[in-house]
């Protein structure tokens, strides 16, 4: 049951975001995009940590906020100094996201296999 609580949070967030049609000036759109990528990366990292039984709420929350803010700030800095740090952030977070998803996939498969092995063991016994 409790597994739905974070998803409920996501749904509530999406609903509120669409009800109040949050948007920022187009000039800052790329910063927000990088921030969203960072947030997604943090979420996936959190999921992986759960699967690895290494989850820490403070690490997740701090990571989420710090990563999003730093990502946006880096993109802004890049704009200021004329270096596309925005792209670097996109690439970095993209790689991390794929990495996290891969880890999650591996962990899930491992978990499923373990479960299956346990089941087979029980049946054999």
């Amino acid at each position: 049951m409790t597994i739905w609580l974070p998803l409920l949070g996501l749904v509530v967030g999406l609903l509120l975001g669409s009800i109040f049609t949050l948007s920022i000036p187009i000039a800052y759109a790329s910063y927000l995009a990088v921030a969203v990528l960072a947030g997604l990366d943090s979420l996936l990292g959190g999921w992986r940590a759960i699967l690895e039984r290494d989850f820490d709420g403070s690490v997740l929350v701090s990571g989420f906020f710090v990563n999003t803010i730093i990502a946006a700030a880096l993109a802004a800095l890049g704009d200021m100094i004329g270096v596309d740090l925005y792209l670097a952030a996109v690439v970095a977070f993209g790689i991390r996201i794929f990495h996290n998803i891969g880890s999650i996939r591996h962990l899930l498969i491992k978990k499923m296999r373990a479960k299956k092995a346990q089941k087979d063991k029980r049946l054999n016994a």
């Binding site: 749904v11 049609t21 995009a33």
Partner: protein, 255 residues
Amino acid sequence: MRTNRNTKSILWMIPLFVVFFCFGLLLMAQYHTHQNENDALVNESSANLAMIIKSANDNKESLQDELALLQQQLAESEELIASGNSLSSSIRNRIANLQTVTGGKQVTGPGVTVTITGESNIMYYDLIDLVNELFASGAEAVSINDTRFTMHTVISEKAVASQSGNTYQQEKYVPLINGKELLYPIVIKAIGDPSTLETGLTYPGGIIESLNSLYMVYPVIRKAENLVIPAAEDYLYHYAAPPESSEEEQTTDTR
């Protein structure tokens, strides 16, 4: 033990909830921003831009048509207003004309003066004839001794005892205008074409000749360039009033 685990798991979920919630907000913000960005012209493809330009042009054309229509309406309205102005100015002109006819206003213009001195033996009907002849010759305004001659002007006479020491009470008739005695010299002013007015009086067999020959009255006629004929006193109507219902009819008639 179990409740403990449950509460623990709920506590464990709170950061996740917060993060998911914030992520949802971020995602929606980015979504809307991206939508806005998509709506921006910079990000449109050239085909879309062409479409947008075309629709904008169509819109512009229809708006121009509307503008032309509205400008036409404006011009029509202005014309209406202007015609209203000309209507009121024509009414004003008409009122001014009527005032020259009725003697409501002082008038100036060229004309003739007819001066009759005291020793002449003029009678009131001679004055009437003179005024009549002046009007017949095209006089537009006439005054006698600075009394404007209007349709309410009455020329009459009254008999006064002559000042002579004669035992016979000789009566002398003095002409009156509106009941007031006319003092000599009697000056008749008439505004109109001076030469026409003069000829109207002095043609052979005309009024001056008959006055000269029959009554020994020798009026002096002088052309004048700039005569001033004063306004008549207001006449108060007590009985005659225009019928209210036919007022509209009259205005349409005057048009």
